[in-house]
Amino acid sequence: MAKLLMKGAEAIGEAAIAADCRLFFGYPITPQNEIPEYMSLRLPQVGGTFVQAESEVAASNMLYGAGGSGARVFTSSSSPGISLMMEALSYLAGAEVPVVIVNIMRAGPGLGGILPAQADYFQATKGGGHGDYRCIVLAPWSVQDAADLIMDAFDLADFYRNPVLMIGDALIAQMMEPVEIREGRKPCKPLAPKDWATTGNKGRKPNIINSLILDPEDLERHNRRLKAKFDSMERDEVRWASYNTDGDYDILIAAYGTPARVCLTAVNELKEKGVNVGLFRPITLWPFPYAPLREKAKKAKAVLTVELSTGQMVEDVRTAVCEDLPVHFYGRQGGILVTPDEVVEQVTALLGGARPKGARKGGKA
């Protein structure tokens, strides 16, 4: 398929269809409305079904029904709506129902604002819903990346029988870029028949989609089996990318999503000035690429984490590099993007030894 100029939201929808998803349940919320709008037009054209749910609570439980009956299904929402889906997310993980949920993050907390933010990192990677569960969390940094990752998200969900999240700041859905939808691509995981799904029990025992296990011994066994599954995700599904890390560098920047692209611009600008700075971009926020980040940080004297939050991923960055070197943080909030100039300023100040204006110092002093 040739490259098309598409809005991120539409590319996500079209890529989901190319990944054989024919069902979408969602509720309007800015800044992701273009996804349900696109699906409401496109799904009937390809024999699929779009339902505008009465709430995000209902939408996420429609996913539970559809995913449990064996269909590929996804929803999208934005931060406050995702909060409403956290109950269902816990049930989906507990009952092992594969679905894909896209969070186009806006600024919070509360109703917050409608502009880009990354302040739902904790919610996505550390739980959000109740109980012991984990979800693979994919973080695209371009429209192409979003289209590619959502296709993989369906395969990962089916392979692990677990919900998969894709989280992007508002820009990922709102900007237009050239994109190629990988029609007919090979699944990223081997896919088994869904013999566990509720399809009518002709000739077999009933299939039950359920997370209620009242016997404590049974529930502990269930939790340990889930944990083993999450451990295998941590072992096999870590994704990351690095830029300008072949040579020497004193500073390694860690960033994901749109801020990572802003940082890459800063890295290139600094390179022109003869200053080498590395960039590390986690693509899976969970499982977080702790070991690769620690490896890449070995050459550096300090790490600078850049986020559209007051500092969430930075905690995982600190965990990754342990006490080896200081971890600094620079972030914007409220829907304001970081600029390449700001990143250059932060790096320059760090190299000069001074604490950059507006930066919080962390890690080992």
């Binding site: 069902l23 439980n61 539970y64 559809a66 449990g68 989609i209």
Partner: protein
């Protein structure tokens, strides 16, 4: 001499012992659903959705595929199943707390979208599993653990008549209320449930049968007194009968 079987366990019920309290009518409503599925030949393509409440373990009793939903969300879960697999027969089985309180939004909108599902609504005027708290359908003056002096309508309002409330919507096809307090009403309720599944089999949209039921344990009276209490107190407030049919639908 040949033997004639006049009564047996429906195929749609598993040969297991139910956990329900003595005198509880859930066993009856389970059986009515199972008989309807058997008689219509639907069991092997049916998916049920269990609620949170006393019937949370319904999936252990029915011989068909099942989803256990979170509290109140059964109609949304059923929507997902039916939209994914329109060839399946999908029903929810919900109590009054699940359907009329926490799940009010889901039931109203599933009904209003005209989801091609069947809802079995068990109204026993109390929260059973959590130990007898006030439900949206608790009768005025009825004692519950969260209204120990009786339901005060000045503070808690009047009980919600779900069948009538949903009948006010244009979309739903079939809405009826039966009762399980006497053999005659059980037989009549069975006919309502069977008719609801027939409509779904024909592709007719949303059907709901409310079943007035008893909870001797949390009402604090004997099973036989419970049947009498239902008849004397609930029947006048919750009139039985068919509230809406697809034939009588007006836009």
């Amino acid at each position: 001499m040949s033997e004639l079987t006049v009564f047996k366990r429906p195929e749609a019920l598993l040969p297991v012992t139910m956990h329900y309290c003595p005198g509880c009518t859930h066993g009856i409503s389970h059986r009515l659903v199972a008989e309807a599925l058997d008689e219509l030949g639907l069991r092997e393509r049916t998916v049920g959705v269990a609620p949170v409440g006393c019937s949370v373990l319904a999936y252990d009793y029915f011989n068909c595929d099942f989803h256990e939903a979170s509290h109140g969300r059964a109609p949304a879960v059923a929507t997902g199943i039916k939209r994914a697999r329109p060839d399946l027969i999908v029903f929810t089985y919900q109590g009054d707390g699940d359907l009329a309180s926490i799940g009010m939004a889901e039931i109203v909108h599933a009904a209003n979208r005209g989801e091609k599902i069947t809802v079995i609504f068990v109204n026993n005027a109390i929260y059973g599993m959590t130990g007898g708290q006030m439900a949206p359908t608790t009768m005025p003056g009825q004692v519950a653990t969260t209204c120990p002096l009786g339901r005060d309508t000045n503070l808690a309002g009047f009980p919600i008549r779900m069948a009538e409330l949903l009948s006010a919507l244009v979309t739903p096809a079939f809405i009826a209320r039966g009762s399980l307090h006497s053999p005659l009403e059980v037989v009549k309720t069975k006919a309502l449930i069977k008719r609801a599944f027939q409509y779904q089999r024909e592709g007719t949209c949303f059907s709901l049968v409310e079943c007035l039921s008893t909870c001797p344990t949390n009402w604090g009276i004997t099973p036989t007194d419970s049947l009498k209490w239902l008849e004397e107190n609930m029947l006048p407030y919750y009139p039985l009968g068919i509230k809406k049919t697809p034939e009588g639908k007006e836009a």
